[in-house]
Amino acid sequence: MQPPILELNHITKTFPGVTALDDVHFDIRPGEVHALLGENGAGKSTLIKVASGVYEPDSGEIIVEGQPVRFGSPRDAQAHGIATIYQELLLYPELSVAENIFMGHAPRTRLGAIDWATMRSRSLEILASLNIDDMDVTRKVGSLTVGNRQRVEIAKALSMNARVLIMDEPTAAITESDVERLFSIIELLKQRGVGIVYISHRLNEVFDIGDRVTVLRDGRYIATEPVDQMTEDKLVSMMVGRTIDNLFPKLDAPIGKVVLEVRNLTRKRVAHDVSFQLREGEIVGMAGLVGSGRSEIAQVIFGFTPAHAGSILIDGREVRITTPGQAMRYGIAYLPEDRGTQGLIRQMDLRANTSITVLRALSRATFINRHKETQLAYSTIEQLSIRAYGPQQLVGKLSGGNQQKVVVGKWLATRPRVLIVDEPTRGIDVGAKAEIHRLMSELAQQGMAILMISSEMPEILGMSDRILVMREGRLVAEFSRAEATQENIGLAMMGDIGNNGKSVNSQLDGVEWQA
């Protein structure tokens, strides 16, 4: 067996009030995929930030190819061949693909100016070496889909001759076809001897591509095992310290009258002629590719981007919704898809984030009742088992999954009649996911109408009473719970490929252009 490229021994890292890592071991060998697992807040992101030079550990040693090293900054780690793709992608949206790939180490001409031609051709080379030949390197990164942005990140890592590539939840926000592509790139990198650290909450992925797996719990090291000697149940019990049902069975709820109805809802270029109904007690899943107009239709209903045509009816009466505030007064809540930019105010504390949607209810004559606000924060922390040191913790300093729980909490606090959730369990660990599914099921039982946009097929199939499928801004199919299968939903999402002569890829490109 080959010696490790990178070793982390006895790593301890504390933040004010939290021990994020406590005597943790980790190592990575050339050409292997080493999965890193643990619940939300277990310390995974912190560990890889130690490995990539973002944080210096309080104690412990970092060894690269047998030599002890100290990383004072991410640049040091990069110089040692360690590249990282963080949970929140860090590209510059206003710069081109090539500029992003060579950010900080652009090729120079002899006069010291940036050598644009070389930069472009080298970018194309690197992308081609990853079997990516459909990307325009002069395009702004901000106009790419998340899947493509991720490929740019990988290319960037390779442009620095990375020998270790760390990926923190790379599949949380990309489509299934992007996941397949990512896996084939990972396979390619393995063959080249790159060691890959892979963090994910989707255990099936670990079994698909992982060679070894390390589990953390509460900042402590539990074990490192070869993946082929593991089972899903075993892994879960290592992560949570007990066995749990990681799938929550949907509860049956009495389906009542129609609460929300949309008729021929249209917003230019993103949604056309969308009509459907939502009943009390019903959970309606909405499937579709990224960019198929699912979030867009939700944002039209929520008044964020008002409709150009069509109507919205609440309890059978037509209403005009032009701002989110109005939608909320009609009892509609929308949990947006991107927690970092849309869902949370990262610089504010947990308390202010959970109360922001219900400030009026928590205040008298516009004076905020601090006591009630704190109570709400505590009950949210308890209800969703958020790992935080208290209501005063800045949300930006919570782990990714715990941030997502805060978004869920702030919208549940509004006690809506119609709850629209957009990728509600993105980045949430298996146990907490089952917990959120149970919560949604209970809320439906109490009469809430829920529209659930999700790209995770098991979530859609497991939770929905009815499933709507969107493609290119249109509602193209509807299935009852009994009819729905992975195959027929998948087909409806892709469309009839043979007939109109379009490949899935060109459809995706069209979608990307809209986004």
Partner: protein, 332 residues
């Protein structure tokens, strides 16, 4: 469950934490600098630390102060208002013009001046929210536009000889304290309470930190922006009125350069120019510090140019201290 427990077991009691946070805040750092500055200046000249002088300084800083209060709101949301000085000038001119040229009763001319200020601010806000003009560009344009308007109306004439009662606000005292200072103190208390205690104040911080998320949370972002720019215009108009009452005359160049003084007070007071954090208390301390430095240095015989250098240095110093503290707090 665990989260609740950890908050009690791993963290020091809440009050010591709060005390530490208080000591490390920009406001306390600034207060400390102010006290030092007062001590040093008072050893240099005995004309400085007298009740008479200090009250007079209070009188002089009122106009900038009235503007710096809504400016704090605007900067907290990540915006800026450069047109405040021009609005003050325009309002001052309209006061004199309305009374002298249009023959309005003086009371009505005062109201006119305030309304014009509010309208000028409202126009700023309207363009900013409707056409998404960046506040810097919009108010830079109206900085020139409103000043031009004032000059066009005034035609280089000044209006003076107001009735005696008109000077009460700017030149008289009640219980030994300059009259305009009451207005500043009351306005400061009200704006401070609104910013720190109400849903409106909270929404300003939310907008400044992440406007998109604020909109997605149902906060009426555009309405609230309109309100603060209108308030800024109104307060600028009021400051213009206070100035006319203090100096007894109306001229079209009144208030020029005020925007920089107001912004300096706000930023010195710890409000982040990028939005998202800041306080009225900080702004008031910043205001006082700048005024005391100006006055103290002038009394010790330092020339005007050197005074500006000193104020600039204090600004840089306090920002430095603040960022060092910030980094310590973030544990990096």
């Amino acid at each position: 469950m665990t989260a609740h427990e950890t908050s009690q077991t791993r963290i020091a009691p809440a009050w010591t934490q709060q005390l530490r946070a208080l000591l490390r805040s920009q406001e306390s750092v600034l207060l400390f600098i102010t006290v030092i500055a007062v001590l040093i200046l008072s050893t240099q000249t005995d004309k400085f630390l007298t009740v008479r002088n200090l009250l007079n300084q209070g009188r002089l800083m009122t106009e900038i102060g009235l503007i710096a209060l809504p400016m704090t709101y605007i900067i907290v949301t990540g915006g800026i208002d450069l047109s405040v000085g021009s609005i003050a000038g325009l309002s001052a001119i309209m006061l004199g013009y309305g009374w002298y040229n249009l023959g309005l009763p003086l009371e009505l001319a005062i109201v006119l001046a305030l309304v014009i200020g509010a309208i000028a601010g409202f126009a700023n806000g309207l363009f900013i929210i409707l056409f998404r003009v960046p506040p810097l560009i919009m108010t830079l344009a109206t900085l020139a536009f409103y000043r031009g308007l004032a000059e066009g109306i005034a035609q280089a004439r000044s209006v003076r000889d107001y009735p005696e009662w008109f000077y009460a606000l700017g030149q008289r005292e009640t219980l030994g304290i300059p009259n305009q200072l009451y207005f500043l103190v009351i306005a400061a208390i009200i704006t401070a309470i609104i910013l720190s205690r109400t849903t409106f104040g909270r929404s300003l911080y939310a907008i400044g930190n992440n406007e998109l998320a604020a909109r997605f949370s149902g906060i009426p972002v555009r309405r609230n922006k309109l309100i603060i720019y209108t308030l800024s215009g109104f307060m600028s108009g009021f400051a213009g009125y206070v100035l006319v009452s203090r100096v007894s005359t109306t001229r079209s160049d009144m208030g020029s350069g005020w925007e920089l003084d107001a912004i300096a007070a706000v930023v010195l007071g710890g409000t982040s120019i990028f939005g998202g954090s800041g306080s009225i208390v900080g702004t008031m301390i910043g205001l006082v510090l700048i005024q005391l430095l100006k006055n103290g240095l002038a009394l010790t015989g330092v020339t005007g140019d050197a005074t500006i250098v000193v104020i600039g240095s204090v600004l840089i110093l306090s920002t430095l201290i603040n960022s060092v503290i910030q980094r310590r707090v973030e544990g990096l």
